[in-house]
């Protein structure tokens, strides 16, 4: 078992153990209904976390995604209210905007050689401000097509609903897995995470790759915004504050190393589901404060950071022993 796969395996084991604990206490939790809800409720987070995984694998960070999701919701609601365009056209326009927004941040990061933290922090405020400019208030979405999207589902055995947005999330994860692990672009992302200088020496087009990475994250944030607006059927410019941090937490709990260069997109899905599972447990329990979610997530994060550090140490010691 290599240091590369261990965090992923740890993630999966922790998820299964957590599920087992939940099941022992509330047998009803092992049903396709709960699983279907888990996917639906966390669809927006899963989608944006896939983009975040690619960014973090490259050694970067994207703090703008929460604001971009909020902007997306407001943009869709306002466009549907004021223009009469078909939702699909609005979605296409939105994805073009958020992708271009991400690409611009990637370009700035590369050209100015600025830390992604600062550039995407600026992006975070910009997107939040842009959402406010469109509307200060919550805008409901009243659109028959939306009802269709919201109610589209596949009925799993056991009456569980695999909703459309849950499927979109699973497809996003699958797409992210292919892109990260099976394409030249993905290898370049890992190369950047391993070391920019070395990557450049090996022939990575650093500028192009950086732009594509943040464009991908912007696209995923836009898609997440669409899914979230379907999920809530409304929009609010102040929504989703801190979602970027939830996404980062999901990526890290999913076993991706925060400094980049190692991790799996599939792990991020497990990370998202683990976080969702904690929430579901609290709902089932009924008496626990929802703040316990935060506490458990905090502890899980700490655990994974310690695990990564420990693995690194072990790796160094093993190599020193071999030398």
């Amino acid at each position: 078992m290599s240091a590369r796969t261990l965090p992923l395996i740890a993630t999966i084991v922790i998820f299964l153990l957590a599920y087992l604990v939940c099941y022992l206490q509330f047998p009803a939790m092992l049903s396709t209904r709960v699983i279907g809800n888990l996917l639906t409720d966390n669809a927006y987070l899963g989608i944006v976390a896939v983009g975040m995984t690619i960014v973090i694998l490259s050694g970067g960070i994207d703090l703008s995604v929460g604001s971009v999701i909020a902007f997306a919701g407001v943009f869709i609601a306002v466009m549907l209210r004021d223009t009469g365009l078909h939702p699909v056209a609005v979605f296409a326009a939105l994805l073009a905007i958020t992708t271009a927004f991400g690409a611009a941040m990637g370009g700035l990061i590369h050209v100015l050689a600025m830390p992604p933290f600062i550039v995407t922090l600026a992006g975070m405020f910009l997107a939040r401000g842009a959402g406010y400019m469109l509307s200060v208030d919550s805008v409901p979405i009243d659109e028959p097509f939306y009802d269709f999207l919201k109610d589209a589902y596949y009925l799993m055995p056991g009456k569980g609903r695999l909703t459309l947005i849950g499927i979109v999330m699973l497809l996003s994860v699958a797409a992210g897995m292919v892109i990260a692990h099976r394409t030249r672009f993905g290898t370049s992302v890992f190369a950047l995470g391993g070391g920019v200088q070395t990557a450049r020496l090996m022939g990575v087009n650093v500028g192009r790759t950086t732009v594509l990475i943040y464009a991908f994250s912007g696209f995923m944030a836009g898609l997440s915004g669409i899914v979230f607006s379907i999920y809530t059927a409304s929009s609010y410019p102040l929504a989703m504050v801190g979602t970027e941090l939830n996404a980062i937490a999901a990526v890290v709990i999913g076993g991706t190393i925060l400094t980049g260069g190692a991790g799996y997109v599939f792990g991020t899905l497990i990370g998202v589901l683990t976080m969702g599972l904690i929430q579901t447990y609290i709902v089932f329990d009924g008496s626990l404060s929802s703040w316990w979610t935060k506490i458990v997530i905090g502890m899980l994060l700490l655990l994974f950071i310690l695990l990564q550090k420990g693995l690194l140490r072990l790796d160094i010691r093993r190599r020193a022993g071999a030398a």
């Binding site: 099976r182 394409t183 030249r184 290898t187 995470g193 391993g194 070391g195 070395t198 022939g203 790796d315």
Partner: protein
Amino acid sequence: MLLTIRSLTKTFPGTLALDAVDFDLAAGEAHALLGENGAGKSTLIKCLTGAYARDSGNLHLDGAPISPASTLEAQELGIGTVYQEVNLLPNLTVAENLTFGRQPVRFGMIGQRAMRRQAEELLSGYGLDVDVRRDLGSYSVAVQQIVAIARAVALSGKVLILDEPTASLDARETEMLFDVMRKLRDRGLGVVFISHFLDQVYEIADRVTVLRNGKRIVTEETAGLDRLRLIEHMLGRELEAQTAEGAQQPAEPADPSARELHFEGIGRRGKIEPFDLSVGRGEVVGLAGLLGSGRTETAEVLFGVHPAQVGTARAPEGALDLSSPRAAIAAGFGFAPEDRKTDGIVADLSVRENIALALQARRGWSRPLPRAEQNRLADEYIRRLDIRTSDAEKAVGDLSGGNQQKVVLARWLAMNPRFLILDEPTRGIDVGAHAEILRLIEEVTRRDGMSVLVISSELEELVAVADRVIVVRDRSHVAEFTGADIAPDRIMRAIAAPDVAAPDEEAA
């Protein structure tokens, strides 16, 4: 000739890094490039691989003029480089590293099996037994080096440049690497090999080129080159003229009882074998040896940069703690490292601030050094050391190399240490400043009774300044000379041993 370089010149602000250097590389040849630090080896390589733009000179590869503007372009022309720090990605698999940029793709997706096959093909013939699907980082440095070589050869295939490839390998791994080098040479590649391990040069290289101070000194067949001659070329010394000068040194009787600092059995695994050293008040001890022989390592162990694992240090008042630079400074030690640009000065701070730095560090942050005191110190040392600066507030980075070195010296002198270690104090500075620094060393030892350890590859410098010279070879202290015995030819013989044995001088 596969590769010819004619009158290659490269200047950096203030220094002539390469001075009309000629270099030839034949196909099927392993050519060693030798020289001390600052001789111009890496500058030559960087000009050749396009990492630096040369000022003038011609490069020809296979008879055609080339002018690579980047390492990638050089790679495409056929010149591949493997640096000491492996320039591959440990977080990718061996196969990904080998095929990077040329992965077999079908419908936009990398064919895993095809990539694996391609990687295994590339590695065949290198005698490696590795699973290409595993992370590169899970293999030893030697394997990583060979994978890097395999990649460079696959991409370039004409000239292979190896920059100190054996620096972090053990004997068995080095042998493995040499086998690979021999195979590649026999396949008709030209291999340029930079190393400072002379044994390895004699083992693998067909020809040797020696650089010194940016000039090509000599290119010779290794087989016909005497080891002592080679070291002469590297250190720049004609033996004949020397004996007389050495005798001029005042023979100072070394009285061990008067010695102030005693180091017994100090050493660190992989850095320097345990050694004994006693230093007297006001004594200047010289440390001679080739680059990588253990001279800088000695200084680093004494100053706690890499603390000693065994041994004790004693002063008249008792045992000394040298477990960290901080502890060493508290014990009254000072260390001016060799590479002042990265280790010595803080380029953006002013002359005054740089001089006050160490003193302030010793006082602690809660007791700031008064500004008036700082000014007084700065003015005093600018005057005493003749630091050429418009005023004390000028950023050190704007000064010339010699003046930067003086600022580093001033910093330690301001501490008034009892034991000052100077690693190559005159490296890269002009002749005038050179003499001044030597004069200064003499002044602080004679007048203030400071003890100084000087590390230098310039033997004249050691002969001129040191009361005692210790020779380091293969990471251990092998010889010691005092008084009239301090002569460049004797030192050089001791450095060159074992081939050129001079047993009567090994009276350490």
